[in-house]
């Protein structure tokens, strides 16, 4: 499988006559873009903003981030989701780099939504403060979930993907600034040099805890809750075969942008043929019932073993209950003789003294920690809020609250906030961006 990613580096974004890219400047025709957003009759109200690093802007409730892309030979950027099914990971895709489409609720947030500060002390808590962002702020008529803590955010998330495809389409016929090639020979047809290196699989435990369809990550449009672990080519992950869901506290979630760019995959590609033989990705899940957890762990270990893996990296999207799947999977791999390293955030409590994972096992002797979801964060008011600040306290955010005897409400009258890291948008960057770790004090 050979994927060519043509990169266009965006230095600035402006609104203008024609949606186009030239010399690093991305111009967006706002009216036309909003028309694409409004194609779904469930979107009742929509607006676009451009926010850049350093802007005195706070975004909340942030629901999703997507990298604008286009499939050069035609077809949807997200097969089985925004269009027909087709093979992802092969051929040529063009991407607008250093920018993302952010989807923000005009009023209503929920458990899974997050916050982004584009400047100040809060900026360091999320990756998206360093990107130039096209912000879609919209409302919907999805009355059934307006006051629900758990939201599918279907109309908004799909609007974000349509918008990302619309914006991406302006570089379809242009020559990219840079061309990256991702290619792996079939496992049994690799060179001796590759085969002599330690073979490695990457196990991705996608978030799939909701039994009802519509909340979980999708693989080619298929709900990961209904999936058994399966072998995937890393190019498929990088090229839109998987989209993020709408469940799990925001900081430990993987946005679609995160999945499209997956830094751990990129690093494994870099090492391939030099220090290791990158076999590919085992896509697994994080279901709630114990037998489902055990079944997935068994299958992951079996697939890894059958492929001849010597080593594995296991990454979990989330924390808490999924820690059980995470540890079970590491133990199953270690029991199969595969040397395994885990990648996860931890939850040590507001005082930092709680057990960092729900379950632990001495066999999980190699873990990289990407952050602590429960750390308290206090931030001053921000000049401009896009979305609705009150949602952080009102709508059951994982890291926000209406009242607390000691701390008071998450949102104060002067616009300052106090929250848990839990609600920093994709803040724990488990896909590999995180330069955070957790240490004992």
């Amino acid at each position: 499988m050979r994927l060519e990613l043509g990169n266009f580096y965006v230095k600035d974004i402006v609104f203008g006559e024609e949606t186009s890219y030239s010399n690093g400047i991305l111009t967006i025709n706002k009216e036309e873009a909003l028309k694409v957003v409004m194609e779904d009759e469930h979107i009742t109200d929509a607006d676009l903003h451009i926010v850049k690093p350093g802007d005195r802007v706070r975004l909340v409730p942030v629901k999703e981030a997507i990298e604008p892309r286009v499939r050069v030979d035609g077809g949807p950027v997200f097969p089985g989701v925004t269009g027909d099914l087709m093979q992802a990971g092969n051929g040529r895709t063009h991407a607008l780099k250093d920018c993302s489409v952010l989807v923000v609720g005009k009023h209503w947030g929920g458990f899974q939504d997050g916050l982004i500060d584009m400047s100040g002390e809060g900026a360091k808590y999320t990756y998206y403060s360093q990107l130039k962002n096209i912000v879609l702020v919209a409302d919907t008529d999805e009355e059934f979930e307006k006051r629900e803590q758990q939201k599918k955010n279907r109309a908004l998330r799909w609007a974000g993907m349509r918008l990302a495809e619309y914006i991406g389409s302006c570089v379809k016929d242009l020559e990219p600034d840079e061309l990256e090639v991702f290619e792996l020979e079939p496992i049994v047809k690799r060179t001796k040099q590759e085969n002599d290196l330690p073979s490695v699989v990457l196990v991705l435990q996608f978030q799939s805890q909701m039994e009802e369809l519509g909340y979980n990550d999708l693989v080619y449009g298929w709900d990961t809750n209904r999936m058994l672990p399966t072998f995937m080519h890393p190019n498929e992950i990088l090229d839109g075969a998987v989209i993020s869901g709408s469940f799990m506290p925001s900081s430990s979630k993987w946005s679609t942008y995160d999945i499209q760019n997956f830094p751990v995959i990129r690093r494994l590609y870099k090492e391939h043929g030099k220090t290791l033989n990158f076999l590919g990705v085992i896509a697994s899940n994080l279901n709630v019932a114990l037998d489902q957890k055990e079944r997935s762990a068994l299958l992951v270990a079996q697939i890894a073993k059958s492929l001849g893996a010597d080593g594995a990296i296991v990454a979990e999207e989330g924390y808490g209950n999924p820690d059980a799947d995470f540890i079970a999977c590491i133990v199953a791999l270690e029991d199969a003789g595969i040397k395994t390293v885990g990648l996860t955030p931890e939850c040590t409590g507001r005082d930092g003294r709680s057990q960092p994972l729900v379950t632990m096992d001495p066999k999980a002797d190699a873990i990289v920690s990407t952050g602590d979801v429960s750390q308290l964060i206090e931030l001053p008011p921000m000049e401009t809020v896009i979305g609705e600040l009150e949602s952080l306290a009102r709508d059951g955010f994982a890291g926000g609250w209406w009242g607390d005897e000691v701390l008071g409400p998450s949102v104060r009258e002067d616009g300052s906030i106090i929250m848990e890291n839990n609600s920093m948008f994709c803040g724990d960057q488990v896909v590999g961006w995180s330069t955070k770790t957790v240490k004992e004090f």
């Binding site: 458990f111 360091k124 803590q149 758990q150 490695v200 909701m210 039994e211 009802e212 506290p249 830094p263 751990v264 690093r267 090492e271 290791l276 594995a312 808490g320 209950n321 040397k339 885990g342 996860t344 931890e346 040590t348 409590g349 507001r350 005082d351 930092g352 003294r353 709680s354 057990q355 960092p356 994972l357 632990m360 096992d361 999980a364 002797d365 190699a366 873990i367 990289v368 920690s369 602590d372 979801v373 429960s374 750390q375 059951g396 994982a398 890291g399 209406w402 848990e420 890291n421 839990n422 488990v430 590999g432 961006w433 995180s434 330069t435 955070k436 957790v438 240490k439 004992e440 004090f441």
Partner: protein, 349 residues
């Protein structure tokens, strides 16, 4: 100018050796024994105003009295930081430093710094309560150990950034916090590098050490279930629909106690779940799937159990820390004991 007070034992307080170990606590103005070196290391930023001396045996056999006496000494003193030791490998001295350090830290809310050798039993007993620096085996390490204590004390009072336990050199207090690596190294690089080391048989260091397992022993079975009072406790977030105690939907710190003595079952619309960690649909349609009052009432009628306790107890388990969960459980247990409950069905979700 900030102020400090030092605690030492009878030996280092120049009262005497083992024969003086029953020496009752005293506070002296100024510097005695190790306090002189401590003052030298602290320099001009912090002044050691008093030295407290207490015999190791006195502290060991009259702990409460000794601690109260010393807290009494301190009540009218102004101080910003408290030092104890260093205690090296001296067991009774280490435990004494820990006892007084913990009490001072709790009562006066000032940082407490001590130093002990890793084999000192005081380390495991008190490392969670005060800063205990990794010290030498004997008084030969006095100067070095005091320097570590003083340097860290200066950092604290100056408000400098405090690094992790390992970087600073004290025994970890069981408290984990997120930090940004300097220089920054991404998790993608760290995880692949760690895997390569593990594959190549090179030493590697996990970022999340697995602590020893904290298992609660399984209780002995109830001898005669037909006479037993059974209670339901749940972390599944079932509450009266208006959630009167405002239990949080995630990361809960509150719990509720609700009267079910006149109910045969929990009705939908009267009770619901506020738990944000699972799909609530089924539980909202029938709250008994989490608080199985209907089944227990049936058992009650059949005589399988003696009776159902008058209340059920509830909180939310998602994102809730082990520490908070243990505290809430301790509080709930008091009510269960009062109600003479023999067995609990603990429903998780």
């Amino acid at each position: 100018m900030k102020k400090a007070i030092l605690y030492i034992n009878q030996f280092f307080g120049q009262i005497g050796g083992e024969e003086e170990a029953d020496f009752a606590p005293e506070i002296r103005e100024g510097l005695v024994g190790p306090a002189i070196e401590l003052q030298k290391q602290l320099g001009e930023d912090i002044k050691v105003t008093h030295t407290i001396i207490c015999g190791d045996n006195y502290m060991g056999s009259n702990t409460e009295e000794a601690v109260n006496t010393i807290l009494g000494f301190l009540e009218d003193k102004e101080f910003d930081i408290f030092f104890a030791g260093p205690a090296f490998r001296a067991g009774r001295y280490g435990v004494a430093c820990g006892n007084i350090g913990k009490a001072v830290s709790e009562k006066f809310n000032v940082p407490v710094i001590s130093s002990m050798n890793e084999e000192n039993p005081g380390v495991e007993m008190f490392r969670k309560d005060i800063y205990i620096f990794k010290g030498g085996k004997s008084a030969a390490a006095m100067r070095e150990d005091i320097k570590k204590m003083a340097d860290f004390g200066k950092k604290i009072v100056k408000g400098e950034t405090l690094l992790s336990a390992e970087e600073e050199g004290y025994f970890g207090r069981g408290l984990r916090r997120q930090v940004w690596l300097d220089p920054p190294v991404t998790a993608a690089d760290r995880v692949v590098d760690m895997l390569l080391k593990k594959l190549n048989g090179e030493p590697f260091k996990t970022e999340l050490p697995i602590p020893p397992v904290d298992t609660v022993p399984i209780a002995p079975p109830i001898k005669d279930l037909s006479k037993a009072t059974i209670a339901i406790v749940t972390s599944g977030g079932i509450v009266p629909v208006d959630n009167p105690d405002r239990i949080q939907s995630a990361s809960a710190t509150r719990w509720g106690k609700y009267d079910i003595s006149n109910m045969e079952r929990l009705e939908a619309g009267v009770f619901k779940t506020i738990h944000a960690g699972f799909d609530p649909m089924v539980a909202n349609q029938n709250p008994n799937v989490i608080v199985p009052l209907d089944a227990l009432r049936a058992y009650e009628k059949e005589g399988k159990i003696g009776k159902v306790h008058e209340y059920f107890y509830t909180t939310v388990g998602t994102g809730t820390t082990q520490g908070e969960a243990a505290r809430m459980a301790r509080e709930i247990v008091e009510h269960l004991k009062e109600g003479q409950v023999d067995g609990v069905i603990l429903v998780s979700t």
